[in-house]
């Protein structure tokens, strides 16, 4: 006789239908982030949108982790958070630098290089 994770760490196994609920939320969130990234011209909001896309994959990972009754997906989310933090630090520093130069947060003014 043994204790399984379903009995120990997780309350019970998850059905595929429930999994799809979460995945749907995750996919919509990803899409919203993508649309936001394209439509918003404010650099900070753009980066928030990429954070939201990271968040969407976080939801998917945790949902799958729950479905498979293991913890790897959650561990993945920890690293996603780490990267999100690192990217945010760099992005914000970059935004500050650019704001000092140009006095605007508009991303689309940076369009000298083209062709």
């Amino acid at each position: 006789m043994m204790t399984t994770l379903a009995q120990s760490g997780f309350p019970e196994a998850m059905t595929t239908l429930t999994l799809y609920h979460y995945l749907f939320i995750s996919a919509v969130m990803f899409t919203l982030g993508l649309i936001g990234f394209i439509t918003r011209r404010n650099l900070i909001v753009m980066f928030l949108c990429t954070e939201m896309m990271f968040q969407a994959s976080g939801i998917a990972l945790v949902a799958f982790s729950r479905f498979y009754l293991e913890y790897t997906g959650q561990v993945f989310v920890i690293f996603v958070l780490t990267i999100a933090a690192a990217e945010a630090a760099l992005a914000l520093a970059l935004v500050v630098l650019l704001f000092k130069r140009n006095e605007t947060l508009d991303g689309s003014v940076w369009s000298l290089l083209k062709g």
């Binding site: 896309m53 799958f64 997906g73 996603v80 990217e87 760099l90 992005a91 991303g107 940076w110 083209k114």
Partner: protein, 544 residues
């Protein structure tokens, strides 16, 4: 983990050097600060030696999907890395260092970014080497991010000009978009297979393929991962940033962008495709149809768009940027072709070899551009000094006559990029052709051939302008840079391009050996890896 450490020595070496470089970059003594590039280069050489010396045995490498790839991949990274260090030397802080030397300014550690600049470079190469040793999606994701995040900063600080800032913002933001796309792909891949370990993913996918076919979640994950990683290799449709970023960054950094993220992307793509396995299709030697079609479309669009856009450029950096897109397209052909028994049939070893050749020849070409600069530094709006580089193609008119070393280096590198016989570029492209044909991808190879012909139109400009034209006014404004390692990099690139033709056979052989043992034998998968977790579990527990 302990056994994996044994072949992480190159990365550890690089990281130690990174820390050293960061610290001594703050030294008030100019002589000490100047050690930064030297230490970076030496650490890369050491990393390369470690990489060759620590070939993982099959048992040690069993966790990795393609353990044989490590020494070769890390060695080529070290080789091109050393060239890049030589090229990057003196890219930042030149104005400040000069002012410090002439006493116009007192030492202020805050103003100098030299140490950090080399540190970022080493960070990036550490990430690149880690990409090669990736064994799980998590590792792969982190390694790819470690490869690209420092490059964002490097692009931004590479010159004091605001076009560098523009390049930085475009690169960073679009890079973050790409990262989130392939991260979502990774999470779906995990969802589709229930594993993050690449070997387990491979086993799961093998089971799926044996059954109903790939799970659509897995397929979606793979597709998103591939297009997301397409950002790193500048493949259509993720290629848009390339030209702007290459143009905005200082040429040495552009040279780095042409090699480092691209290599990381291809290593990641090879690992992903190896996880799927080339066991599908009518012939049984192809990727699953969806993935094959995706890569096919990407390859065709990438090489065609890259080449036709390069045709229209008058800026050399943009031209090389678009051509870099096209080269990625060529290499995707190898990915579609997949492994084979001999190197003439193996697209994967063709990619592994092409990465080296492309790294060397594009670094050589960029080195020439980086070596041409305005005689005097210009002051930017923010008060920093900037040495403007040559960018317009007019600047290289008559270069072979006025500055023979640079001119000839450029001509030879351009010939090689074109894939001219008796240069290494030819030997790089040849296996791609043969592998494509032997994999039955003849239409793709025909398109590759047509694209190589189109590429001749613009590469020959890099040959004809220096050789046959008279230097014009535009060219007169530029002098050879006083940074000697930079001109040397161009010459080394040219010599290597010619010299490697002699060693092409053995190097291709090494590339082939590096990828063949894991990809060829299916038995390895069955008895070696499938049993592996069961074998390992008691051991680890016993170790506690």
């Amino acid at each position: 983990m302990a056994e994996r450490l044994a072949y992480l020595w190159p990365e550890i070496t690089l990281f130690i050097a990174t820390c050293v470089v960061m610290v001594i970059g703050l030294s008030p003594s100019a002589a000490v600060r100047k050690l930064c590039p030297l230490i970076s280069g030496l650490s890369l050489a050491a990393a390369g030696i470690f990489a060759i010396g620590t070939t993982p045995t099959v048992a040690e490498g069993a966790q990795g999907l393609m353990p044989g790839m490590l020494p070769y991949a890390k060695a080529i990274i070290a080789v091109v890395g050393i060239m890049l260090v030589m090229l990057l030397a003196g890219t930042v802080d030149r104005g400040e260092e000069e002012e410090l030397e002439t006493g116009k300014r007192i030492f202020d550690a805050q103003r100098l970014t030299g140490g950090e600049f080399y540190a970022f470079f080493l960070f990036s190469l550490t990430g690149l080497m880690l990409t090669a040793s990736a064994d799980s999606l998590i590792w792969l994701f982190l390694a790819l991010e470690l490869t690209s995040l420092p490059t964002y900063v490097m692009v931004t600080i590479s010159t004091a000009r605001s076009k560098a800032k523009e390049a930085g913002i475009k690169y960073f933001f679009l890079g973050a978009l790409g990262a989130s796309i392939f991260l979502y792909g990774f999470s779906l891949l995990y969802g589709g297979t229930g594993a993050v370990n690449l070997v387990e993913i491979k086993n799961q996918i093998a089971i799926q393929l044996a059954g109903d076919g790939l799970n659509p979640i897995t397929t979606a994950g793979l597709m998103l991962s591939i297009v997301g990683i397409g950002f790193k290799i500048a493949a259509v449709p993720m290629h848009y940033y390339t030209a702007d970023v290459y143009q905005g960054a200082a040429s040495p950094v552009s040279a780095m962008l042409a090699f480092v993220p691209k290599t990381a992307g291809f290593l990641a793509l090879i690992l992903l495709c190896a996880a799927i396995g080339w066991n599908s299709g009518e012939t049984g030697h192809a990727l699953p149809e969806t993935i094959r079609l995706l890569l096919w479309v990407m390859a065709v669009l990438t090489m065609t768009l890259g080449n036709v856009l390069a045709l229209l450029q008058t800026s050399m950096k943009r031209m090389l940027a678009y051509s870099s897109i096209a080269h990625s397209g060529y290499m995707l052909v190898g990915l579609i072709a997949g492994p084979g028994a001999t190197f003439t049939e193996s697209g994967i070893s063709a990619i592994m070899f092409y990465l080296l050749t492309y790294g060397i020849m594009s670094t050589g070409a960029f080195a020439v551009i980086a070596s041409l600069e305005r005689a005097h530094a210009q002051r930017t709006q923010t008060g920093e000094l900037a040495y403007d580089e040559a960018d317009s193609i007019e600047a290289i008119r008559g270069l072979a006559r006025t500055k023979p070393l640079l001119g000839w280096s450029l001509v030879i590198c351009a010939f090689s990029l074109l894939g001219f016989p008796l240069t290494v570029g030819f030997f790089g492209k040849l296996p791609l052709f043969t592998a494509g044909v032997s994999a039955g991808e003849t239409p793709l190879v025909v398109i590759l051939g047509i694209n190589s012909a189109i590429a001749a139109f613009y590469y020959l400009r890099l040959v004809a302008y220096p050789l046959f034209d008279e230097a014009g006014d535009e060219a007169d404004g530029f002098v050879t840079t006083p940074i000697r390692t930079r001109t040397a990099t161009g010459a080394i690139g040219a010599i290597a391009v010619l010299g490697m033709t002699v060693f092409a056979g053995p190097i291709i052989g090494l590339a082939h050996e590096s990828v063949s043992p894991t990809l060829d034998s299916d038995t390895h998968t069955d008895d070696g890896i499938a049993d592996e977790p069961k074998l390992e579990e008691p051991e680890t527990i016993a170790g506690q």
